[in-house]
Point group: C2
Chain length 351, copies 2
């Protein structure tokens, strides 16, 4: 098991990765008043695990799925917290994937101006990315994560025991953020390229997950609230990915990040941000997780959603993070019409 410390300004955060992490969670929470937030899928699979690990805890299960990451679910959690008469020193345990972690984290941030918070991520995506770093949010009025807060969990327990029940779609989803980290961090990138054949191997994924958390921890320590600019790098692939996700739905977040990175590697190449050779290198890494980029009829229409993105500061421009060279990235704001023209590449990506 590996311990990774985040020395963040607001509140330090400790991540435990590896087999046995859930037992550590049990020890850490023993004797504390716990309130477990999970979703209907996780509860169905892990009801016994939950009651054995957190005996006596209240359990609140929200409906599973990205489309339930909204105001209604957030207030359902807050209502259950009030009903359970939680106080400020109670511990909210977010046990689930990214959606559960984001919403339970926000509820913990808001309830009485902040209760204690522990994350127990159950998906690959949540273990490599969303449970670490304190971003919490819900979607609102068609805008991703527009209502949220930065709120560090005291502890994150990443146990691979949950991987065995993940459907292939969820593994692919996690690979999206892993490949993104591989593009940003050469150490992770090399791990991926040197172990192409093991990208569906659960024990290798666990090592990769820990490597991704190490990278993210350093980024978040430097720029906890995404002000200095460094943390923005984690949004690689997300400008286009989020816009497509809002317009088309259906596929997983991680797949959209891969598709977004694919398009943005073309943008980087054509805008002269990176060399054609490096753009091809990025696309070959994307192909390891997603061999074929699907076609999106009418993709230019996703411009509307891209313009709503939090990263845009100017009127009528779309900001994005682009790959520049090994271990480096650049931020670029494109005029809306120019970005829409690039989006149209997704109508026939095999061309």
């Amino acid at each position: 098991m590996e311990t990774i410390q985040l020395h963040t300004k607001s509140r330090p955060s400790t991540v435990l990765c590896g087999a046995g992490a859930l037992s550590e969670a049990k020890s850490f929470l023993q004797g504390k008043e716990c309130f477990v937030v999970t979703d209907s899928n996780v509860l169905r699979l892990y009801a016994d695990t939950i009651s054995q690990t957190f005996p006596g805890a209240s359990v609140c299960a929200v409906p599973a799925g990205e489309r339930h990451k909204n105001r209604c679910s957030l207030f359902a959690i807050l209502d259950a917290m009030l009903d359970a008469r939680l106080h400020r020193s109670s511990v909210v345990v977010a046990l689930g994937g990214g959606v559960v972690g984001d919403m339970a984290g926000l509820a913990a941030a808001l309830y009485m101006r902040g209760t204690r918070l522990v994350q127990v991520p159950t998906t690959l995506l949540a273990q490599v990315d969303s449970s670490v770093g304190g971003k919490t949010a819900v979607d609102y009025r068609g805008v991703k994560n527009v209502i949220g807060a930065f709120y560090q969990p005291e502890r994150v327990f990443c146990d691979p025991l949950f991987f065995r029940t993940l459907p292939p779609r969820e593994i692919r989803c996690g690979l999206g953020e892993i490949v993104k980290t591989g593009v940003l961090d050469p150490a992770v990138g090399d791990m991926i390229k040197e172990n192409k054949g093991s990208l569906r191997d659960l024990s290798f994924l666990q090592q990769l997950a820990a490597a991704c958390v190490r990278f993210k921890a350093r980024v978040v320590e430097e720029d906890e609230t995404e002000r200095s600019g460094l943390r923005k790098c984690l949004n690689l692939g997300h400008t286009t990915g989020h816009a497509l996700e809002l317009m088309y739905g259906r596929r997983s977040h991680g797949e959209y990040v891969l598709i977004g990175m694919w398009l943005e590697s073309h943008i980087a190449e054509r805008e002269g941000v990176c060399t054609p050779a490096y753009a091809r290198e990025v696309r070959s890494m994307i192909a390891l997780a997603l061999p074929r980029i699907p076609a999106f009829p009418g993709a230019a229409g996703a411009l509307r959603y891209a313009l709503l993105d939090k990263k845009n500061e100017g009127q009528g421009t779309v900001s994005m993070i682009l790959p520049k060279e090994r271990g480096a990235y650049a931020e670029l704001a494109l005029p809306a019409d120019r970005y829409a023209a690039y989006l149209a590449l997704l109508e026939d990506p095999c061309r």
Copy 2:
């Protein structure tokens, strides 16, 4: 004009107190995208001032009054922010009393995980207390401030020009928090006692307000998120005050703080936390702002609301801050029935 710095961990905050503060706000915000949140009363009185001070700003007015400090108003503000297409570097200007400041502050904390925030408090209460220190919240399901966040404003501009339109009730309300500060901080206490006759004089109130902000700034710097315990002292009078406010309504927050302090001085005396002489001294300071404590029939029923208070950590006890001696206070948790017996004193406070 006086400048008071809060070197808070999350984000430094600067308070400007005195005539001319609003002009400083105008200079500070020139050229920035501003979004003014106010209420229907303030807008009626100051529409011209607002449009001259913040030309081109979007203005969002929520209905006036404590009972509108709720989820519905919060989302009305967030909706207007989305409609105005604010981005993270836009500045939310909370221009109004405590209710506006609390709600606009929370909306600023949540929108895109935090926009810029400036407070322009217009009431005495907001200038001496609520605009400073970063507490934001709405009431929910009958619990005061149960959904909120700590979010420091970059700047607070306290201009006494707004005092001239304050009704006597609002002056009394501000005096509640001023007297509370006087009990906690001997410097402010002496200012009050030495100028008994000037407690309705607007220019003296402006000096008192700055003194209160100086005291609060030191407390908030030490314990921004009310963890170490120091900041809890600011809740003097609030356990009982909030409970009565929830049960009876009608009177202002500051008056309830005075009434709460009155009862809690009796509790402090009878529980041996302070001497009878010091309790009388506290009550004589309360009398300067509120000469007669009103009777509350059925006051013991307020126990129900007191039990919901955020400060309570144990089951079935009510926690409160009590005056101990000059410049000192103590925290006490009373069993519910014992606290209810004290509440009954309010049924006939002249006895």
